[in-house]
Symmetry: C2
Subunit: 344 residues, 2 copies
């Protein structure tokens, strides 16, 4: 029997909060049954109203309401917001883990606020310098991990090497990839490519014996199955993530527009609609449930702001996996063994 | 009547050289007639053989063979290669412009070698710090310019601001966009996003009065028509360019694979084939003909390594446009007016 894990859910985070998050909680209760005890953190009146609308009883023993009167909006300045809104749902979620009432957090809210609040309340794991977000992206052959996709903009070589360690462990423990190939993202595959920080990170990572380091990789290696863990700073990773999201959307839009131009094409498009739905599902981030924020002293999955209920439910499951696999313990141990704090 | 412009063509550059370049020369002669005088630079025997195969007479007055016995391969280390192979086709091309025999260069060869050779033979334009490649990319609404897509990996704020000036002028003069919107690529749209160099570049660019600066942009703004000129360093630009190329390929591959799974989908795919061909053409870099290398004292268009004849012919036309529009003169003047050499 699985243990009953307590997860704090940020009810006010996301483009469609709280209703999408309420939907996700309802789906999670149905799919995962008693696996989780969920602390629903947010404006109590709104959450109660939402639960009533989807037919979940407020006194269901698997849920518990935690009132948080403030909300941090998707476009608020993160650092300022968490400083000013100490009673916001996301800060309260982190607080619940810190005080031991919850073991992990799910939020589809403002990413910067989640990163900032976790750092404020939890601090870094022992030996870890900076947090990173490990986003799972789809590919022709298999999914791959983009680490960091936006938590730390400026990275020293040591930070990049620690991202490599965390991404590798995440791929092994949570994605169950036996021998993940890790690559350092650069403007070409030859050794010596990239700026100084990338070059120095290359030398650090190639000496980590537990990592299957395939050296520098370039944009052409993504999405096609050449690499399992892509290491880069959060500036580059965020640009890669958002550019890819947008290009996927734009290409789909252009195909749709084109198909509508002639009757014959339109008929063809209708007949093959199922094939597109299949690809769309493969590309859909809500199937994954979100990205773990790694390096901090706690477990947090950050969902996509546009998640509906299904993405939220999968995100809650993802928090559970992170906790069960004891990823943080593995990270601390691996970083301790490398101990290049003195290098970078 | 158009003036007769002399262009040096690197016959040995590209994945399918020299045959693809020979095809391109033949197409250019047919399409552009007497507009250009082409210096065909490469191994004379191979070029002659190629011309014979496509039925172009060696004594056609519009072409002239220039023998260059050495070739720089697509995967050679650029700096080492141009130092060791002084008689390579690409170095010879640059030399022909320096000595006044040609006005511009087209090459689909090793990008790093073209950048290095131009810098070696031509040096920078007055007041310009570093070269940048302005790649035109397709979009839902209109094409846009990625500046720099790989020439300068490490950029000071001044270099980024000069990229903004060059990208803006290229969009105005060559792409004929009346009031191009320029954006600085970062990990979010708010002012203050990005690392220090991006933040400082922001302050420089917003003070350039001739640029319609829309501030920071993020990956979500690309491909969808939000911005005309995207300013970033060559490290980020190269990653964006190659990631986008690969994602386009991977998505197409996934759709094809999916369509083949069921007979009905297959029939639909066949019927709507024309719509896909249309999108593919819109995404095809060979329609554009390549990207100008800007900032150096000369005109050079760098084609995609995978170009066939059509791309090469369009590349030759693109060199002509660059020369006719006197882009370099406009760049020197605009940079002189800003004169922030002293700042960054």
């Amino acid at each position: 029997m699985m243990s009953n894990i307590t997860i704090a859910v940020d009810m006010m985070g996301g483009d469609y909060a709280p209703s999408a998050v309420v939907d996700g909680v309802a789906e999670a209760l149905q799919r995962f049954g008693d696996d989780y005890h969920l602390l629903l953190v947010g404006d109590e009146a709104q959450v109660k109203e939402g639960l009533a609308a989807v037919g979940v009883a407020v006194d269901d023993p698997r849920i518990e309401l935690v009132h948080a009167p403030e909300v941090i909006g998707m476009n608020e300045h993160p650092v300022r917001a968490i400083r000013e809104k100490r009673q916001s749902s996301i800060v309260t979620c982190m607080e619940l883990v810190k005080s031991g009432r919850a073991e992990g957090v799910f939020s589809a809210g403002n990413t910067g606020a989640a990163v900032g609040a976790s750092f404020l309340k939890w601090r870094m794991l022992e030996g870890l310098a900076r947090p990173g977000i490990a986003t799972i992206l789809p590919g022709e052959k298999s999914p791959w991990v983009l680490m960091d996709s936006g938590a730390t903009v400026d990275c020293t070589p040591t930070v990049l090497a620690q991202f490599a360690i965390m991404g590798d462990l995440y791929a092994k423990k949570v994605l169950a990839i036996a021998n993940p190939r890790s690559g350092l993202l650069a403007n070409g595959t030859e050794e010596g490519k990239g700026h100084r920080r990338v070059q120095e990170a290359f030398n650090l990572i190639k000496n980590i014996k537990d990592i299957n380091f395939i050296g520098n990789i370039e944009g052409h290696d993504l999405f096609c199955g050449n690499v399992d863990v892509v290491v880069c700073d959060g500036f580059v990773g965020n640009i890669v993530l958002k550019t890819s999201e947008q290009l996927g959307k734009s290409l789909t839009g252009m195909i749709k527009e084109s198909v509508m131009k002639k009757m014959l094409w339109k008929v063809g498009g209708l007949l093959s609609k199922g094939a597109f739905a299949e690809v769309k599902k493969r590309m859909d981030a809500s199937e994954v449930g979100g990205a773990p924020l790694l390096g901090v002293k706690g477990c947090c999955i950050i969902g996509h702001g546009n998640f509906r209920g299904h993405g939220v439910a999968n995100g809650i499951r993802a928090v559970g996996e992170l906790i069960r696999e004891q990823l943080n313990e593995h990270i601390v141990e691996a970083v301790h063994q490398c101990a290049f704090e003195s290098i970078g």
